[in-house]
Symmetry: C2
Subunit: 418 residues, 2 copies
């Protein structure tokens, strides 16, 4: 059996919206052992949507559409699909109630045009959308399955994973699957990693291994094919053990684990608390750490000391120290970390000072120079980095290095192993 | 003439990497009046890459490839292309020097396998890559143009815009183009916007109009086709004026303008300074504002007062006030804004307190309740929001509303117009 993906929206063809849905869906389907044969995109145009649906019904067993389910005039998917299948649209009271409740929760009056999102073609199964107003639809016709989902990724993704994929596997009796696992490292180079585990590229056939550099991280991807989830998990576990033997604690996490969550978990396990003194990272470390639910248990406070007076007033960094070493220096970073730790009474103080750019660089300390310091009960340490990229990348990578330095300290790994 | 896009990398077919390059390139090409006929993806496999290149050479005038130019063993694009075209690979000294300099700047030793990134097929034009080690390549063969670019988006995108698209337009004498312009609003609903400018959907044919909701923003997209850039700009200007007549200052920006940059520009124009007191947004407002180059001129400091002691110690918020109204209240938000403004001696103090979730909600103040307050010389104001979404979305939307409240104050727009 084969799937066709159809993403709908003029903004995808002409505009600045990057169509991330089609490739995301293709990947999730591949993992579920479901082949994607065709991917296509059409604009918000009745004739072209109709032609695309008819073509898909002539060559695919499953058609998965996203987009065109919104309340505005250019949203046509529901209406075209009903017309092609000759199924009248009916108002679904349960869907209407769901939409009305969402507006009530936001304390906003529901506009009349939102009612059309509650229209459902006869015989369609409604796919509940807990994150938005437009429900998904699943129809069966002549042995084929047709699915519509909203184009908003945060609404489409859980609907795809929790409802659409299990139903397709069930209808077509699919048993095989592909499972990937990603091991993540930070602060070491892609080439170094390649030298340490390059032999596994040649040896391994199932699972296979790939290495990919992301911003401030290196990902080692293990990919395994099979039918039995337990057997796949065992093969992945075996290879993961081998790779961890070579890389040890340099691997900070797996799959969707984020560095800020890993650091948070380590702090929580040790009942430790953290205060931040950020200059060049501008609050990004605090923001990333507080993205993690429950982080208020260990993030006590943060200070963005962007100006020199703020550094003096909030962190007790002396003007003499700044004059002697420069504001971007290991010494000032340490004083910031020690200052915030003392003030907040936390287990750790973590500080950054640097030049995020695009201006402010000097021959001695070019744009991308970032000093990170950590203060703990019995001492402090600091390290200087030269980070590449634009301002936002320097901020992100600086935050990444700061979190990694804290993680390494918590696990007793040397701060400067690369 | 027609273009084929080929994205290369096993991680695109099977993995968790979303292929944003193909759709991004398709859109940029469409804007440049260049038709894309085919989009395909292959893994890091010699036979399949070779077959895909041969197929493209049989059906397209231009083949644009991304990926597979890295230093590791699974990167094959350069070698396969050289073999298909029967062009020997030669070491390019200028490219090698560029790679060596990048490693020297990062103070990292260059691994031997990075040398292969300096190998260039005979007769290829090297496309300079200021942001990475792997250069792009452009070859002409039998009237066709073949292009290879790195798969890393931040390296590929400037190469595509600055080098590849102008060269293709030049070779094939392309004159027409499609230009889009996006007008952005914040704090008003999609349905409201639709009601105010919905008649333009029906009237306008060139430019056309589309409305799209993004996280915490609404985008009105104007799309115009033509040959003469001045004529296109005139048509877009005319329609923009009409839309602004209906929406006024509710439109905060255009195209890539971000709310944090718009607010920064307004602060700079007024020689005003800002201090932040964040609770539920956890440093995100500070981080977004400091993403903007030069923001150190107006962002004086920020405080992430996550704990109640931090709110007292750093912002002088009295425990009595917290006890009387609750920590998430208009009163506490105002006290935070006034406290940080007084302490920092800035023109404005901006504060947030709320419940980002997933826990901590009450029947009275559910998850997503966010109070935003602004303090200025002669007073202060606050507004409460009920924001939908997961923790990170609540944080983002809370930051968005805080920035919008400051923007509206700076322009004299009522804080609560929706």
């Amino acid at each position: 059996m084969g799937v066709e993906l159809l993403t709908i929206g003029t903004e995808l063809l002409l505009g600045q919206i990057v169509d991330t849905n089609a490739s995301w869906m293709a990947q999730r389907l591949a993992e579920a052992g479901i082949d994607v044969f065709y991917k296509s995109t059409v604009g918000d145009n009745w004739g072209r949507i109709e032609a695309a649906i008819r073509l898909a019904m002539s060559r695919a067993d499953v058609l998965i559409m996203t987009g065109g389910l919104g309340p505005t005039e250019d949203d046509l998917t529901r209406e075209v699909l009903a017309a092609v299948l000759n199924r009248p649209l009916r108002l679904d009271q349960a869907v209407l109630q769901h939409i009305e409740e969402r507006f009530a929760r936001r304390r906003v009056a529901m506009a009349e045009n939102n009612r059309k999102q509650a229209m459902v073609p006869e015989g369609a199964e409604v796919l509940h959308n807990p994150r938005g107003t437009a429900p998904g639809l699943l129809l069966k016709s002549d042995g084929r399955v047709l699915v519509c989902m909203p184009g908003v990724p945060s609404e489409m993704k859980p609907m795809m994973l929790d409802q659409v994929i299990p139903k397709i596997r069930d209808v077509f009796g699919i048993r095989s699957r592909i499972v990937s696992r990603v091991l993540k490292a930070c602060g070491i180079s892609e080439s170094t990693l390649d030298q340490r585990i390059g032999d596994y590229f040649r040896e391994m056939r199932n699972p296979t291994i790939g290495v990919l550099a992301h911003m401030g991280e290196i990902h080692v991807r293990l990919t395994c094919k099979g039918e039995d989830p337990a057997e796949i998990a065992r093969l992945l576990d075996d290879l993961e053990v081998k790779i961890r033997e070579r890389l040890g604690h340099l691997i900070f996490g797996r799959d969707d684990e984020r560095l800020e969550a890993v650091v948070g978990k380590l702090l929580r396990e040790r009942a430790a608390t953290l205060a931040l003194a950020e200059s060049c990272t501008g609050g990004l470390i605090a923001s990333r750490l507080t993205d993690v639910p429950g982080s208020s248990d260990y993030v006590e406070r943060g200070v963005v000391a962007y100006s020199v007076p703020a550094k003096q007033q909030l962190l007790a960094v002396s003007p003499e120290l700044v004059r002697a070493h420069g504001v971007v220096s290991l010494e000032v970073a340490k004083a910031m970390a020690e200052g915030i730790r003392r003030q907040a009474g936390t287990t750790f103080g973590l500080a950054t000072t640097g030049i995020a750019g695009p201006t402010g660089g000097t021959p001695e300390r070019p744009v991308g120079s970032v000093c990170v310091a950590l203060a703990w009960e019995s001492g402090s340490g600091a390290r200087e980095f030269r980070l590449l990229g634009e301002r936002e990348q320097v901020k992100y990578r600086g935050a990444q290095m700061a979190l990694e330095i804290l993680r390494r300290h918590l696990l007793g790994i040397p701060m400067d192993e690369v």
